[in-house]
Subunit: 380 residues, 2 copies
């Protein structure tokens, strides 16, 4: 079962309040999608993921394919049972991860062909070939609620000609993915992905093409691989107006605080970002910015700094999360300085809670037609 | 407030069931004392520490003195408030840690004199001098419920002559500690420490000397620095019969499963050991041994082995802890192989729960006069 219900359309912007119904429960949108790469939202238990207000998170197909392998996860009852999370999960296609792990030299890319991506496993050096069909098959074994087509995530910067070739590949793979999906009789919700880099006509062509296919939802890719925030906004303004109102829209890999207002106002329903979790593990704590310095630091401050060593205040005095109710900055500072495992948990928990609480306020604001008021309060 | 109440004396052995009342609640004895070195039982929240059945844990004075410093902890309301744990806490004197960190080359030992230990801070290279008086003062600032005298933990192996000199120092420092304790009007429970290595007359002399002083409790040290289990048992048999019944007895640094029965039968009330937490973080999972191989491995198995990659069973099929009720060996194996932070949490949680559940059974068995039955069930 997969259904998108539009609850309220903002009058002044394209922002919308909706609900995505899945086999593992409902997602109130707009929603932040956390990242749980290898079937773990790093450092947290499923109960804590839920307590932070997280409704859904990403798992990365390539990581799980390489370890422990989709067959083991299938044997153990699928990804939900494997990690004991009974809420919605989305998996990516594995494509983006092949490219990004190749950049980090964790995966050796062999070649990209019209059919797929050839690479070597970082664990045993064995050659592996990821195709649209194989990605769908792996994702079926994993069993996430929402799955993605294999796409060719166009690098940036890129020439128009290269972007066009890359987009054609993405479109071909979208059709191949749908074919495989139908053949496997998967009951997951398959999202198509719009690419086209920063070129208006390519983006429009891609939006038209992807929406012409019977996908359950639409993802927008290729705006988080080096493009500016301005370019991201432009892309959304070209693309989103062309999308059907009745399908949910996901923006891939974007979610800093100032992006959030822009993408929601452009009509995006869900978006994922590693920021709250990854920055949290580095000691960067989300807090509502009271000054331009904090804004420039993407609403985070570095709790590991010596000046917090005796600070009795909670991480965020305005936050009512478990961490802020129970621990001081001094203690979290101490834990980070000693590289105590609890440090990463506490920061991750607070950051996820923080961003989900903001999303909750935004959902409320959309219903009450005062989204711009809350945006002003946060960004001005 | 500090009070030891003897609830039941076993008829066949020296084992006893008791209660230690502290300002932060009661400890049912015999009790396992977990280790929370730098004001964190590694990876766990205070709520989880409590859920594992842990009643009390150690913090290490040297670690906290070096970072964040006792003055910061005092300013923040003491160790309980600092880490938000409202149960009993015990701190060591810092002496043992200076020696053991020096062995690991994390601290540079300068010299040991009659007055104390001189060393250099690993953080800023500054010289520092730990004396009985200073240790008591630091421990007062930290504010644990139970504190220890600075002692000279005799290395092993050692000559009789060296052990004797070392013991004299321990005894001198015990008197100095008491002096400082009285002067500072500390309301913590100060334990004296019995040393004497593996020499019967030294151990007996130490037991007599330490029990002649007005300590709230008696700790037995120097049986975990290289001595065999047989030697540990001998020491206990020499020493414990000389201890007053009305004071609690703590054994320092011992707690493997087979030790537990021996030390409890010898009349020890509390004992600390890093085993469940440290081994847990390495992927060694405590389980009731069904065969001699597991017994030889101290009742642990290595969950990181490939053979557990698709094992649906919980870590310990007989365990009802949160981890065993919610996750498979396959998932924990996967988390360890990916070095996911959640792995360390789950293993630590289970191991602490496991050992505390055993202690609960032992406490019950003492009351019911069938300690030997449960020992047989576990060790035979």
């Amino acid at each position: 079962m997969f259904k998108f219900k539009l609850i309220h359309q903002d009058k002044k912007t394209a922002a919308r309040r909706g609900e995505i119904q899945t086999n593992h429960g409902m997602i109130e949108t707009p929603a932040f999608v956390a990242v749980g790469t290898a079937a773990s939202v790093k450092s947290l238990t499923p109960e804590e993921i839920s307590q932070t207000g997280t409704q859904i998170f990403f798992v990365n197909t390539l990581h799980l394919h390489l370890r422990p392998g989709e067959k083991i996860i299938k044997k153990l009852g699928g990804i939900h049972q494997f990690m004991n999370w009974q809420g919605p999960i989305i998996s990516d296609s594995g494509g983006f991860q092949v490219f990004s792990l190749a950049r980090e030299e964790k995966v050796k890319l062999v070649r990209i062909t019209g059919d797929g991506v050839e690479f070597r496993s970082p664990w045993d050096g064995k050659k592996d070939f990821l195709t649209p069909k194989k990605s769908i098959a792996i994702q079926k074994d994993l069993g996430a609620d929402i799955i993605l087509c294999l796409d060719d995530c166009t690098p940036y910067p890129v020439s128009y000609q290269q972007a066009k070739i890359s987009l054609e590949r993405t479109h071909y793979w979208a059709e191949k993915s749908l074919e495989a999906y139908k053949k496997l009789k998967s009951r997951q919700a398959l999202y198509g992905i719009i690419q086209g880099s920063v070129f208006k006509d390519l983006r429009i062509a891609s939006a038209k093409f992807i929406t012409s296919l019977p996908f359950a939802g639409i993802a927008i890719g290729g705006v988080s691989v080096g493009e500016s925030k301005e370019e991201m906004r432009k892309v959304l303004n070209w693309v989103v107006p062309l999308l059907p109102k009745e399908k949910p829209r996901h923006l891939l890999g974007v979610g800093e605080i100032d992006d959030i207002f822009a993408l929601i106002k452009a009509g995006v329903d869900t978006f994922d970002c590693v920021m709250p979790t990854r920055l949290g593990r580095m000691g960067h704590i989300l807090i509502k910015a009271q000054n331009s310095k904090l804004k420039a630091q993407n609403f985070t401050y570095d709790i590991t700094k010596a000046k917090f060593a005796a600070d009795r205040k909670p991480l965020d005095p305005d936050c009512d999360c478990y961490v802020c109710k129970n621990f001081s900055r001094a203690y979290v500072n101490h834990l980070f300085r000693g590289r105590e495992l609890l440090a990463y948990r506490l920061a991750t928990y607070h950051n996820l809670y923080f961003i989900n609480r903001l999303l909750k306020k935004i959902r409320q604001a959309i219903k009450e037609e005062n989204l711009e008021k809350i945006e002003k309060e946060w960004l001005d």
